[in-house]
């Protein structure tokens, strides 16, 4: 089984990594807003966890495409 995995060319690594980070961003934005803000004292922009995650994941996409 591992030999079969070995046949994948290395450029797939960057594609999979980028899809992982981008998929993470998309997935958080389809979470209901009520779930993201559950128990939060208010719904100010800075409390939106989806924005935090988006900033981090986009930074990661840049890093993984660069290196």
């Amino acid at each position: 089984m591992n030999e079969w995995l070995n046949d994948f060319p290395i450029f797939w690594s960057k594609i999979v990594a980028t899809l992982t980070f981008a998929g993470g961003v998309l997935w958080t934005w389809i979470r209901p807003k009520s779930f993201i803000f559950k128990d939060a004292p208010d719904e100010k922009k800075w409390r939106d966890l989806r924005i935090w995650i988006t900033v981090i994941m986009i930074s990661q996409i840049v890093i993984y495409l660069y290196f």
Binding site: A17, T20, F35, D39, W52
Partner: protein, 503 residues
């Protein structure tokens, strides 16, 4: 060490226990002790998570790894952590927090059965004790190396510093001191990296010095025949299994979110921790690359001397004390959290569940404090064995890779598949651990692949056995699995009953 450096280190070593001891006054019962009275705000949780996760051994090991393999070492902080932290925050922590549990094994016990809970508690607490011994020994060596005091005296100093506030103040003291220690850790670590880059002539000059002799050192993904980081193993084993298992199922990581003052704080604590986590390679991996550019002479095991070499050869008076204090901060912030988590596992999952049930809360508070003291003594005893019997601790590290995949498999299925039964969970866990043991001890596979296949095996076994056994009733699963969500008042009622031990 110069006078000013010594002053900084001694001031740090005195200030931390004094600050932590202050929180003793807030501890009235076991919930205060183990979960900080469920009052932790998101920013304390996030700093404590980072303080717990990054240890002094990471500094030396990651810098050595970067010296040896290059920037691929940063996978552990990036793709091998950030997506998993996001999953933990939004998929797992809400369920743990709503269930009102003290430990992850307690959650698995509610979802599956007592056997799963006990096996998980024993596996995690055994591993935490092993790791504690290693951390204590590291602290002894560091204090011996830099301050010149005997190792056994250094061990007692570490035990006293950590013991004073961990035994008395519990999770609140641990989390609050972690905030200070994480700040010190970053200030010292980033100072060293900036100074190192300045000495080497900047990023461009560093790259020019490294690339001619080490062309792969600035590539994140390495070929499939790489002995340690083949790219497929990094993605399948590290990013998709080991990292989620660590961030979603490790009591030491999860415990501070269970002490959150609200569900939002629990989630935000983990999400915000992703920011400092993303910067960790600046203080661990970058120094390894700087050391390689400045001194490419180290070979074999000596490559792990990259970080100590930088400290010894680069730092001016004053900064050496600060960096050493940051080194100690990284170490102590991991030791205190592991002590607290190990004591929680044994008190709540073993003692309260199997030995003395339904005692007053103050009784479990007393037992928790005694357990913490026992673990400190055990760690002091185990610490020197790290040197005498390294095989014991290699076994401890191996044990983690063996049960991480199956643990993540049964937790994931347990939360997101209602049909999974108690026997599916138990046999999924046991089957996965048996397979990974076989792959490790008999076939000698790389641990990244072992994690992936044992994770898959635990899921497949769980599904098969679940279909062959009787489904668990909805009443048992209420609030524990996806799709059986409670309304707020129902949840509050369950939390109150669980807190009173009346479930």
């Amino acid at each position: 060490m110069h006078g000013i450096d010594l002053f900084i280190v001694v001031a740090y070593l005195l200030a931390i226990p004094a600050f932590g001891f202050y929180f003793k006054r807030f501890v009235k019962d076991d919930a205060d002790y183990f979960l900080a009275g469920r009052m932790l705000p998101w920013w304390v949780i996030s700093m404590s998570i980072i303080g717990t996760q990054v240890g002094a051994t990471d500094y030396v090991g990651a810098a050595g790894g970067a010296y040896r393999f290059g920037i691929a070492q940063a996978h552990y902080e990036w793709i091998g952590a950030l997506p998993a932290m996001m999953i933990s925050a939004l998929l797992f922590i809400p369920y743990y927090w709503k269930a009102g549990v003290y430990t992850v094994p307690e959650f698995l016990g509610k979802r599956y059965n007592l056997a799963v809970r006990i096996i998980q508690a024993v596996l995690w607490s055994s591993w935490l004790i092993f790791f504690l011994g290693v951390l204590f020994w590291t602290s002894g060596l560091m204090l011996n190396e830099y301050l010149g005091i005997p190792v056994w005296v250094a061990l007692l100093i570490t035990a006293t510093i950590v013991g004073i506030y961990t035994i008395t103040g519990g999770l609140a003291a641990v989390a609050m001191t972690d905030v200070i220690q994480t700040l010190i850790m970053f200030i010292g670590g980033i100072s060293l990296s900036i100074l190192g880059l300045w000495v080497v002539g900047g990023w461009g000059a560093m790259v020019d010095k490294i690339i001619p002799t080490n062309p792969e050192h600035l590539k994140l993904f390495l070929p499939m025949d790489h002995p340690t980081y083949p790219w497929m193993g990094v993605l399948l084993g590290l990013a998709f299994v080991m990292s989620p298992a660590w961030w979603c199922c490790n009591q030491a990581m999860i415990q501070r979110t269970l002490g959150a003052r609200s569900e939002w704080d629990a989630k935000a604590g983990m999400v915000f921790a992703m920011f400092p986590k993303m910067l960790i390679p600046v203080v661990t991996v970058l120094p390894g690359l700087i050391a390689l550019a400045l001194n490419p002479q180290f070979t074999g095991p000596d490559m792990d001397k990259a970080y100590p070499w930088l400290i010894k050869n680069l730092l001016p008076t004053g900064l050496a004390g600060l960096v050493f204090a940051s080194f100690m901060a990284a170490l102590i912030s991991s030791v205190d959290s592991i002590l607290n988590s190990a004591a929680t596992l044994l008190t709540k999952d073993i003692y309260q569940r199997l030995i003395v049930k339904n005692a007053p809360n103050t009784h479990y508070l007393k037992v928790g404090r005694i357990m913490t003291l026992v673990f400190i003594v055990l760690a002091i005893i185990l610490a020197p064995l790290t040197k005498l019997f390294p095989g014991i601790f290699v076994a401890g590290a191996t044990m983690l890779s063996i049960f991480q995949g199956p643990t993540f498999g049964i937790t994931l299925i347990g939360i997101y598949w209602k049909r999974a039964t108690q026997w599916g969970g138990l046999f999924g866990l046991l089957g996965g651990v048996c397979l990974s043991s076989y792959l490790f001890f008999v076939i000698h596979w790389k641990f990244l692949y072992i994690a992936w296949w044992s994770f898959l095996a635990s899921i497949i076994i769980n599904v098969i056995v679940s279909y062959l056994t009787r489904p668990d009733p909805n009443e048992k699963l209420y609030g524990l699995v996806y799709g059986l969500v409670m309304k707020d008042d129902e949840m509050q009622d369950i939390l109150t009953k669980r807190a009173e031990g009346a479930e």
